[in-house]
């Protein structure tokens, strides 16, 4: 694939911090405004036209509140909240907030919408992050789901319980060290192989072939 797009070789990670802000990012930098200037945003990643802000855990609520209330455009909708387990890398977890700028007034004409992703990194041992339920009620179930499946604790959440799994379930299945339990399907004359092993995992290539 690298011969088709030489600018995106695997050894050149696209999340490298640019020295100067490209024009596409100046708009977002403007949107983040004060929070940007005070150093809350550690890194800006642009990939396939999507912008991700990396924010320190202590400042994540400030940045989210600013984006909801003060930024231009405002982001009144929390579209998604999820997490990524980057095991064995440390800091291990990433909590991802996906914000969408929509006009919340009824009947308002459709404005060109903007999306922004905010990320914060958490350590593998005792991952904790402040809860965003006070900003968006939508975060309630989404945070419970992340707690359920990743074991990330949201401080200040009003009702942090498991949501998808039974209350007495042990462990957090979406962590990468949680095994996938599969049953091989047996047919006559067929050596059983679990579905996920039919095509083996091929690690990232270090060098383009």
């Amino acid at each position: 694939m690298s011969d088709r797009r030489p600018e995106e070789r695997l050894d050149e990670r696209p999340d490298a911090q640019p020295d100067e802000l490209p024009p596409a990012l100046a708009r977002i930098a403007d949107a983040v405004g004060g929070a940007w200037l005070s150093g809350a945003v550690q890194e800006v990643v642009e990939f396939r036209g999507e912008t991700t802000l990396l924010v320190a855990r202590e400042r994540v609520l400030d940045v989210l509140r600013y984006l909801r209330d003060g930024a231009r455009p405002r982001f009144p909708m929390l579209t998604d909240l999820t997490a990524v387990d980057c095991c064995p890398r440390e800091p291990r977890f990433e909590v991802v907030y996906l914000l969408t700028a929509v006009d919340p007034r009824p009947g308002a004409p459709s404005a060109p919408a903007v999306r922004l992703r905010v990320k914060t990194r958490l350590p593998g041992s005792d991952p904790r992050v402040p809860s965003a339920v006070g900003l968006w009620p939508a975060a309630n179930w989404l945070e419970r789901e992340v707690y359920d499946l990743f074991g990330i604790v949201f401080e200040g959440h009003p009702d942090l319980r498991r949501i998808l799994l039974p209350d007495d379930w042990e462990g957090h299945p979406l962590r990468r060290d949680a095994p996938l339990v599969e049953e091989p399907v047996e047919f006559v004359g067929h050596v059983p192989k679990v579905p996920s092993e039919i095509i083996p995992r091929v690690p990232p290539r270090t060098r383009p072939t």
Partner: protein, 391 residues
Amino acid sequence: MAVTRETLTINMGPQHPATHGVLRVVLDLEGEVILGARPVIGYLHTGFEKEMETRTYHQNIVFPPRVEYLATMIEEAAYVQAVEKLLGITPPPRCQVIRVILMELSRIASHLVWLGTSAIDLNISSAFMYAFVDRERILDLFEQISGQRMMHGYMRVGGLQWDLPEGFEAAVRQLMEDLPRRLDEYERLLTDNLIWRERTEGVAVLPAAEAVAYGCTGPVLRGSGVNYDVRKAFPYSGYEQFAFDVPLGRHGDAFDRYTVRMEEMRQSRRIILQALDRLPDGPVAVDDRKVVLPPRRELVRSMEAVIHQFKLVSEGFHPPVGEVYHAVESPRGEKGYYLVSDGSNRPMRVRIRAPSFCNLQALPVMVFRGTFADVVVAIASIDIVLGDVDR
């Protein structure tokens, strides 16, 4: 309002016929008035996100239609378009237009299921049978092109499995000719029905500000009057080239959601007719041997093609390191796939942003101070799919 001695807590579901699957709602009632509602979900949790992390990008195409089993073509398209965005490839124009036709047919089929089941919730079982007849005609078309009635597997990363069969366009045109008459019939049966109006108007009201704060999307959000449609806001598959309107409600009640969906079916018909008129000729998949399997006829005379075929089947492809989010407008709202690639042949993380999950969270707002019978109307008007809620 405080919970008193007179308050009765009861369970609705998880096997109640009006919960459309396995949803349990714990209701605090005083007499027949709802003081609190707590949806309890997870009875259908299948762990698709975990499963998708252990298979290659191509193997994963079978999962999206099983996550949300009413709008299967839209689900498949959402996933493959997310992978295409990750790879940085654009499918050829014919593929894009065919996808638009199939997605809009899928939307009509899904809305017909909603129409039939929500009518049956309100005791109008004839509408259920009429709507399912029309839906079957659409599923027949899907079977004609993919060989499968429901879990098609017709979309491919970079294109489609194969081209449309002979006579498909004529069949779609015939279906589109019949549709307005059928929709008018349903409208006469329901919109002009006094019982239907009494049960839905002013019931399960969700104000616009609450709908946005709860992350509701789709007809639930547009029924409250907020103008947000992913097809307009973040166009994909060439939707910006089609003329269609986004219907909006005014009061945010169950009746508004009903009218929004009925109008959406008419708009889908409009898009399909435009797409049929401009269906271009040409290939239906990208000409990239690193992503799409080579044509069968090349395998007998090209060693290169055999090597590409072998690599794709035994290993799959390696997208670059990065992460993308791609959303489509599913019949229930914004269905998004968030993919994180670590450069291997399997996704490192697949996150499915499910519209039903967020819409259901606003159920307590809708039913507060309503009556017990309104809960049935509210659940029907959200149009939940429990596979989509639990994933």
